[in-house]
Amino acid sequence: MTAPAPLAWYLVLSAVLFGIGVVGVLARRNLIVVFMAIELMLNAVNLTFVTFARARPSMDGHVIVFFVMAVAAAEAAVGLAIILQLFRARETVNADEVTTLRW
């Protein structure tokens, strides 16, 4: 049995995951993939919350993560419904082809 991983490593990992999510949102044009990158960022933040909850130690962080999960589920449902309607109206999910709010 080796030494346990220090908590700071978890925070570094979550920073890396958040960075990858940011790159995904900025660099990809497919709206569905952009959505997935947003979920990735939310999860990176959740990992930070749980790590700090372990370090304090206090379970308030767990409760916040619970709320984040609920909000993420609601956001995914509504967002994907919007993407579905967008595809019906425009036949595309490319963010560059959807630059006006009215048509």
Binding site: W9, G19, V23, A55
Partner: protein
């Protein structure tokens, strides 16, 4: 969790996250996402957050990613030829993401973080639920309203356009 095991899981998590961003087909992106979410659930378990670890698997892998896959199938998307923005924008995004991650990591490694001993049952269902139904009762009830609104909103938006 031993340091070696953590490094292996962290490497796989980052690999999955990369798959989400670089895969050409959205289906592969969704599969990368589900792998990443599972591994994050494992990390939750190693941080003594048992309830959240299993919630992560049930809610994210079981519901949200399935929703993504359903939408991808409904849209019947072909693999895109041009998946990325303009090269300049991609380079700027990669640089910005790298700088962001580096900045956070730099701040984090300078902060001393101990792993103190835990009370019995830390992260189990009962203590978390006690907190949820006492201190955080109002936000909890508001969450139920939010979910109801989201359900109605998704149904109304998702219906076939009438006019």
């Amino acid at each position: 969790m031993s340091a070696v095991l953590f490094l292996v899981i962290a490497a796989l998590t980052v690999l999955g996250a990369f798959t989400v961003v670089v895969a050409r087909s959205p289906v592969y992106s969704a599969l990368g996402l589900v792998g990443t979410l599972f591994l994050i659930a494992v990390l939750f378990l190693s941080l003594d957050a048992q309830l959240l670890g299993f919630l992560q698997i049930i809610v994210y892998a079981g519901a949200i990613v399935v929703l993504f896959l359903f939408v991808i199938m409904l849209l019947n998307l072909q693999a895109e030829l041009e998946t990325l923005s303009a090269p300049g924008l991609v380079a700027a995004a990669a640089l910005g993401g790298l700088a962001l991650a580096g900045l956070v990591a730099f701040g984090v490694v300078r902060t001393p973080l101990g792993a103190p001993a835990l009370a019995d049952g830390f992260g189990n269902t009962v203590p978390v639920a006690e907190l949820l139904f006492t201190t955080y009762l109002l936000p909890f009830e508001l969450t139920s309203v939010l979910l109801l609104v989201a359900i109605i909103g998704a149904v109304v938006i998702g219906k076939k356009r009438l006019a």
